[in-house]
């Protein structure tokens, strides 16, 4: 009985640790690693060969590398380190370039291949037979077969799981965790707000790998053997099933999933009488896991314990469901907020610099898509403190130009200078960190972040927005966070969305989401703001109010470039206005001047 209980404790602890690692990687950061089981295996093998004596011991019936006979806890530490290091080469496989399902297959296949290699190459890790007689930690000091030792092992496993849980919760609840969730929801946008996707993804792979490695190390110390059958690709599916069923993005859910799926199935089978032919029950277990995955993804994709909505707003927010004004009919909002007059704050470093000075310029910019020159030699100079409009017929290349200025697309030809510096090849996130921030034409809010989280996520230089900062904890970043939340609340007030501060941004109406995006870009403290149709789907009255806000920001020293097809907006707010057609700049001037120019009229009427 005591043996049975300890087994549950150890397996429960190990499964929980592994699921927590996956929950962080997949559920929080959205990094899909179908090779996850490899890392657990690497940890188990590492702990094995670190603690095993030289392969010539035990009569040399096993062959393996290492065999260092190191004392506990070195094998466990080694397991975590190797698990983490092994993740580094994988970082290149989970980039953005590849279609999600293709990348997933790449990793799944890698896991199968590793297994095949280890199975067939005996000298490395004893091949298909695997490692056996792996020493138990402190086995020389305490009798590993005693009930007390085994129970103690179980307690250690549970304590470790609890520590991992607390650690990951600390990371996830920090500004860094918020950035991870933002990346999960929309990585291109996170990039445009100055988040370094590559570094974030690599960190998550390494962290998840180290945690998985630790789980393997703990497991192998208890069961004393490890072979390739223990880490078939199907085991990865079990872990994914656990995390999905428990609840993606919720670490408590991951623990629950670990108890229900890997542990639950293992234990449940003990109570099922062995009916039918041999192997029937294990087969049905797998069928049940498959069914659980499919049924959960269909009926309850958010899992048993869905991701928690994090409330940041300090002001009292009406409880209960808020009826969304005009949901589904964005341009007929019944309660268009009346924006208060914009306060004059000189927070932009550029405010002191001379208005009218050229801050952003492009020379002979071109972008070629499959042989078509979507942008064909654009030269523009943007003046500081102005609200510059960019107009032109469909397909004129406006959005492409904007994307090249922001670094979302790299130009095929030409140069971009920002504050005198050549930034042509600079990645988007570094441009954002220099104060060159863009918004997107399509809805680009972080859906599963609240409105206020969306806003705060964009603040540059947050103390808690790094792995180190997250680990240091709230005492380190809490004060600054409170300031940022306060700033975001002021912003919400300014745009009349205070009541929605703690709602998921994805639940707002189209017009409100545009506002969230605009506010978020302002939170990024831009010196130059590139807006791609910020007023599309926004009620005309509100659009004009936004226009006034933008003018006020320019008066404070900000520079804004705005693509917009509503020409009345251009009339009222933008000076100068640049007209593009057929990938080139056609004319520049005030809207009134442009209207008088025949080439502009022709561009709009003839093409």
């Amino acid at each position: 009985m005591i043996y049975y209980l300890t087994t549950i404790l150890v397996y429960g602890g190990v499964d929980a640790i592994a699921c927590l690692g996956l929950s962080q990687q997949f559920g929080v950061a959205g990094v899909t690693n179908f090779g996850f089981i490899i890392f657990q295996a690497a940890g188990a093998y590492t702990a094995g060969v670190l603690s095993l004596p030289n392969q010539s011991a035990n009569g040399g019936f096993q062959s393996y590398v290492g065999g260092l006979g190191l004392p506990w806890p070195i094998p466990w530490i080694g397991a975590a380190i190797v698990g983490g290091l092994l993740a580094l080469p994988f970082a290149s496989l989970v980039g953005k370039r590849l279609r999600g399902d293709f990348a997933a297959i790449g990793l799944l296949v890698t896991a199968v291949m590793f297994n095949l290699l280890v199975t067939n190459y005996r000298p490395f890790l004893n091949g298909a037979a695997g490692l056996s007689l792996v020493p138990s930690p402190l086995g020389g000091v305490v009798d590993p077969l005693s009930g007390g030792y085994q129970f103690g092992y179980g307690i250690v496993a549970i304590v470790l799981a609890a520590l991992v849980y607390l650690f990951l919760r600390r990371v996830t609840n920090s500004p860094y965790g918020r950035t991870l969730r933002a990346m999960r929801d929309n990585d291109v946008v996170a990039d445009s707000l100055g988040k370094n996707l590559r570094s974030l993804r690599t960190s998550m792979l390494v962290l998840g790998g180290a945690i998985a490695g630790l789980s393997g190390g703990v497991l192998v110390g208890f069961i004393n053997l490890w072979d390739p059958q223990a880490w078939g690709y199907a085991e990865t599916i079990v872990l994914f099933a656990a995390v999905i069923i428990g609840g993606l993005g919720n670490h408590s859910g991951a623990v629950l999933g670990a108890i229900l799926v890997p542990l639950g199935f293992e234990e449940a089978s003990r109570y099922i009488p062995s009916i039918g032919p041999a192997g029937l029950i294990p087969a049905l277990q797998w069928v049940a896991i498959g069914l659980l995955i499919v049924l959960f993804l269909w009926f309850r994709p958010q899992g048993i314990l869905p991701e928690r909505r994090r409330k940041l707003a300090t002001a009292g927010v009406p409880a209960g469901p808020v009826v969304l004004p005009g949901a589904g009919a964005a341009d007929e909002l019944p309660d268009v907020p009346t924006l208060p007059p914009p306060p004059v704050v000189a927070r932009h470093p550029g405010a002191s610099a001379a208005r009218g000075e050229i801050v952003l310029e492009a020379h002979d910019l071109a972008r070629i898509f499959e042989g078509v020159r979507a942008v064909d030699g654009v030269t523009i100079a943007i003046q500081r403190g102005r609200l510059t409009g960019l107009i032109g017929p469909n397909g004129a290349g406006k959005s492409t130009t904007l994307a090249m200025l922001a670094g979302t697309l790299l130009p095929s030809e030409g140069r971009i200078l920002y504050a005198g510096e050549d930034i042509t090849g600079l990645p988007a996130y570094l441009r954002a960190r220099k104060g060159l921030v863009r918004t997107f034409q399509l809805a680009s809010e972080f859906k599963k972040l609240t409105v206020i989280e969306n806003l705060v996520s964009a603040v540059p230089g947050q103390q808690g927005d790094s792995f180190r900062g997250a680990v240091l904890g709230k005492r380190y970043w809490g004060a600054q966070e409170r300031q940022n939340v306060e700033r975001a609340e002021h912003m919400l007030e300014r745009f009349g969305l205070s009541a929605h501060a703690d709602r998921y941004a994805g639940d707002l109406s189209g017009g409100q989401r545009r506002l969230v995006e605009l506010m978020r870009s302002l939170m990024a403290e831009p010196q130059v703001l590139l807006l791609d149709e910020p007023m599309a789907g926004v009620h005309p009255r509100l659009a004009r109010q936004i226009g006034h806000q933008l003018l006020a920001l320019c008066a404070e020293g900000m520079t804004i470039v705005m693509v917009e097809h509503e020409l009345s907006i251009m009339d009222e707010f933008c000076d100068p206005v640049i007209v593009m057609a057929e990938g080139r700049v056609l004319a520049e001037g005030t809207m009134a001047e442009l209207r008088g120019r025949s080439e502009v009229v022709e561009a709009y009427l003839v093409g």
């Binding site: 589904g328 009919a329 964005a330 341009d331 078509v372 017929p393 469909n394 397909g395 189209g510 599309a536 789907g537 005309p540 009255r541 659009a543 004009r544 097809h565 509503e566 020409l567 009345s568 251009m570 009339d571 009222e572 057929e582 809207m591 009134a592 442009l594 209207r595 502009v600 009229v601 022709e602 709009y604 009427l605 003839v606 093409g607």
Partner: protein
């Protein structure tokens, strides 16, 4: 023709020259939010009618609502007097409506000949070769490239093929969505002045959305001007060209649009 038998009443009313089209306060858009509002337009059999307007005025959405790609939220679409609102796009195609989308207008991996055959999918297989011949007579330039992959054609050739494809069914109504988008100006004029004219000469009714307003005016019998998702003007090319409001509807300057 098989399609004619299937559609019963609508077919009986159809003249040999082309179908009539009418929308009654059509409101359509994506995901429940309307882009075009209460649009009522009508096209008589054999007419060439164009819809123009500035960016984002809802021209393409209107067409997609008519051919059943975009959800119709209210109002109705009538083809030869029969209500075809909410029908699936393939069923509308079977009623004799040939739709040429703005992009992805050909089957890129298929050859020119196969594209035309797909256009004639609803014909009896034995009638297809003759019909392909007929289309190649309408667009003789296509004859040289029948075995070339559609994806390898130039922009203008591609558009010609797209029009040839819809011609395969002897459509009663051809619906063209910005056929000159992304084409160089000269080729754009060829497409409008030659290709669309040839389409019209086959007797089909033509409804065309264009950004190149002046150019399309020249080949239209009547034109609707859209702005902010609503019909702002309607008239013959002569009437519109003479109107100062016409230019304003594109470049503003009168009252702020939509505001």
């Amino acid at each position: 023709m098989r399609t004619a038998q299937e559609i019963g009443g609508a077919a009986a009313a159809r003249t040999a020259r082309g179908a009539s089209l009418r929308t009654e306060s059509l409101t359509a858009g994506y995901g429940g939010s309307p882009i075009v509002h209460e649009i009522s337009i009508s096209v008589a059999p054999g007419e060439v009618v164009s819809v123009v307007g500035p960016n984002g005025s809802g021209k393409s959405t209107l067409l997609k609502g008519i051919v059943g790609i975009v959800e119709v939220l209210s109002g109705s679409v009538h083809l030869d007097g029969a209500d075809v609102t909410h029908r699936a796009t393939e069923e509308i195609a079977r009623l004799g409506v040939g739709y040429v989308p703005q992009v992805d207008d050909v089957f890129a991996p298929l050859t020119v000949a196969e594209n035309l055959e797909m256009g004639g999918y609803l014909l009896k297989p034995k009638d297809v070769p003759a019909r392909v011949e007929h289309v190649l007579d309408v667009f003789p330039q296509l004859r040289r490239m029948v075995s070339r992959r559609a994806g390898k054609l130039s922009g203008g050739e591609r558009k010609m093929l797209a029009m040839g494809r819809v011609l395969m069914l002897e459509p009663a109504l051809v619906v063209l969505d910005e056929p000159t988008a992304n084409l160089a100006p000269q080729i754009a004029h060829t497409v409008l002045d030659e290709h669309v004219r040839r389409l019209a000469l086959t007797g089909a009714t033509v409804l065309i959305v264009e950004q190149r307003a002046r150019a399309v005016l020249a080949i239209s019998d009547r034109t609707y001007v859209l702005a902010g998702g609503r019909v702002r003007m309607e008239g013959t090319p002569a009437e519109l060209s003479a109107s100062s409001e016409f230019v304003e509807s594109f470049l503003g300057g009168g009252q702020p649009a939509g505001g």
